[in-house]
Amino acid sequence: MTRQRSERTWICLSLAALVAAALAPLVLAPFYVRVGQLVLYSAALGLAWAILGGFAGYWSFGQSAFIGIGAFVGGLAEAELATAPPALQFLVGLAAGSAACAVIAALLAYPVLRLRGIYFAIAMLGVAHVFAELNNNIDIFQGSLGLTFPNIGIAGLDPHVFYYELFLVAAAATLLAAWLIRRSRFGYGLLSIREDEDTARMLGVPTEHYKAAAFVVSAVIAGVLGLIYAHSLGYITTGSVYRDDTNLNAIVYSLLGGMGTLIGPIIGAAILVVLTHVVLGDFLDFHMFATGLLLVLLVLLAPSGLVGLARKLVGRKKVRR
C-alpha cells in the first residue's frame, strides 16, 4: 500500500520537477542556462553509469570511452551527409553513434566483465585510454585535428536554450530507462549481482547476460550524451570528450548522492557542477585542491552518500517516536 503510494508521489514529484526544469531558461541568465546544460548532462551521465555501477556494483572507470565513440562516430557519419538538413544529419549521427557504442560494448562486455572489483575498474580505464590514443593518432578519426558539428538548433530559439532542452529530454529519458530497469526483473537481477554474484548465479540469475546488457545500455546512453554534448560545443578534439575527469565524476556523482539510488546521481551532479562552475569559478588555482578535499571528506564522512545520510537521519527520528 505505502509502497505504491510513495511510488506515485515520486512520479508526480519528478513530473513537476521536469516541467519546472523545462521552464527554467525563461528566467535564468545565459550563464546559468549553460550551467544547467552541464548539470543535466552530468546527471544523465551519472545515471547511465549507475545502471551498471550503482545497480550491479561494477564500477567502470572508463565511461568516457563511450562518450568519445558516440561523439566521434556520430560526428563522422554527419560529416558524410554535409549537404543534408541539420536535423536529419543529427538523427543519422545519433543512429550511427549509438550503434557503434552498442556493438563495441557488446564485444567488450563478455571478456571485460569477467573481471571483478578493482580489476574491472582498471581494465575499463585502460579501454578508455586505448580508444583515446587510437582516436588521437589515427588520421581518419580526426581526433587531433578536431571535428566540427553543424548547428541543429531551431530558428528563432536561442541555441543555449535549445541545447538545454535537448539535454533535459536526454536526462529525462535516461531517468525513465533507469527507473524501468530498476523495477524490472532485470533490475533485481543486477541488484542481486551487487549483493552476491556467485549466489545469484547459483539461484538461476543469468548474471553474464544481465551484466552485459547493463553494460551495453549504459554505453549507448553515454554515446548519445556524448554526441549531444559535442553538438552543444560545436567543435571537439579527442581531449574534449575522452576525459579522465569525466571517468571519475561519473562515479563521484553517485558516491556524493547515494550509490545505487536513482536520485543520488542527479543530486550529486547538481551539487558538484554548481560547486565547481559557480562557487569555485573564480578560484582556478584552488580548484583541484577543493575537488580533492571534497573527495576525501566524502569518503570519510558520508560513505553512503547524501541519500544514505538523509535516510539515517529520518530513520533515527522514526525510532525515537
Binding site: 578493482i118 582498471i122 586505448v130 579522465d244 580533492g292 576525501v296 569518503v299
Partner: protein, 292 residues
C-alpha cells in the same frame, strides 16, 4: 642490427627506472589490496625534495636518497594510518581508491602552488657525459639512475625475504586473519608497508628527475605507469615489478622506434587490458586474492 640493439638497451635502462617507480605501488596492492592513486604524486614529490636538498646541501642528487626516503617513509606511515585505513574501514576498498585520488589532486595542487607548473630538472655535474660499449652509446646519468634502481630493488627484495619485517609483511598479505591470530598488529604492518612504499616511490622520483624533466601534472603518468608495470609483472614482489618494468621499457622504446612516436601509450594500455584478461595476476603473479 645496431639500431635494434640500441633500442633494446635504451628500453632496459628506462625499464629499470619504471620498475623502481612501480615497486611501492605493487607492494601496497599486494599487501592490502588498496590501489594507491596518489603513488605518482609521491614519486614527483621525491623528485622535488631531491631538487631542493641537492641544491641546499650542494651534493650529488643520488646522495639525497636516504634523506628523501626517510621523510617520505614518515609521510607514508601517517597517511595510511590516519587516512587510508579509515576509508577502508568505514567504506570499501574501491572508496579508498577515490580517497587516494582526492589526496593526489590536493598534493598536485600544492606542488603547483609551491613550485609553479613549469618543468624542472635535476642535473648532476656529469649530465652530458656518455660512454660507448661496443657500438652502443650510454648516458652516464641514465646508467647511474638504472644502477640505483637495481640496487634499491635488490635491497627491498632481500629485506622482504630474509628479515623479520619482511616475513611479517608477507604473512599479512597471504592470510590477514591468520597473521593477526599470531600476534601481528595488521594496522601497524599496513602503515609500515605504506611507508616503505612511499620511500621507494620517492627514491624513484630522484632517479626520474635526473633522467627526465618533471612537473606536477606528471603524477598521473607515473600512477598509470605503475599500474601497467604491476599488471604486467605481477603483484606484490620486487621481482614482478622488475620484470614488468623492463618489459614495459622495451615495449615503449620498440613501439616508438618502429610503429611511431605517438603510439607507446596506446600499446601500453592495450597490453594492460590484454594482460588483465589473460592473466590478471601478472607474469610472475602470486595474487593472494582472486580477480574474478
Amino acid at each position: 642490427m645496431n639500431l635494434i640493439l640500441q633500442t633494446l638497451a635504451d628500453g632496459l635502462v628506462l625499464g629499470g627506472i619504471y620498475a623502481l617507480a612501480a615497486v611501492g605501488f605493487s607492494l601496497i596492492f599486494g599487501v592490502m589490496q588498496v590501489i594507491n592513486l596518489s603513488h605518482g604524486v609521491i614519486v614527483v614529490i621525491g623528485a622535488y625534495l631531491a631538487l631542493i636538498l641537492s641544491r641546499l646541501l650542494a651534493v650529488d642528487p643520488l646522495l639525497t636518497i636516504p634523506l628523501v626516503m626517510a621523510a617520505l617513509f614518515v609521510f607514508g606511515y601517517a597517511y595510511q594510518r590516519w587516512l587510508v585505513q579509515l576509508a577502508v574501514e568505514r567504506s570499501s576498498l574501491l572508496a579508498s581508491m577515490l580517497l587516494t585520488f582526492g589526496v593526489a589532486l590536493m598534493l598536485r595542487n600544492i606542488l603547483v602552488w609551491i613550485f609553479s607548473p613549469d618543468f624542472k630538472t635535476i642535473s648532476p655535474p656529469y649530465a652530458f657525459v656518455h660512454f660507448h660499449l661496443g657500438e652502443l652509446t650510454f648516458d652516464l646519468v641514465r646508467v647511474s639512475a638504472l644502477a640505483t634502481s637495481l640496487v634499491l630493488l635488490c635491497l627491498l627484495a632481500a629485506a622482504l625475504h630474509w628479515t623479520r619485517f619482511g616475513r611479517i609483511v608477507r604473512a599479512t598479505a597471504q592470510q590477514n586473519l591468520a597473521a593477526r591470530l599470531c600476534g601481528v598488529d595488521a594496522r601497524h604492518v599496513y602503515a609500515l608497508t605504506f611507508g616503505v612504499s612511499a620511500a621507494f616511490a620517492g627514491a624513484s622520483g630522484i632517479a626520474i628527475g635526473m633522467v627526465l624533466p618533471f612537473a606536477p601534472p606528471d603524477e598521473a603518468f607515473w600512477t598509470l605507469n605503475a599500474f601497467v608495470v604491476v599488471t604486467l609483472g605481477g603483484v606484490g614482489s620486487p621481482a614482478g615489478a622488475l620484470v614488468g618494468g623492463l618489459l614495459l621499457g622495451i615495449v615503449n622504446t620498440l613501439t616508438a622506434q618502429y610503429v611511431g612516436p605517438a603510439f607507446p601509450n596506446a600499446t601500453m594500455f592495450l597490453i594492460l587490458v590484454l594482460m588483465l584478461l589473460v592473466r590478471p595476476s601478472g607474469l610472475l603473479g602470486n595474487a593472494f586474492s582472486p580477480s574474478r
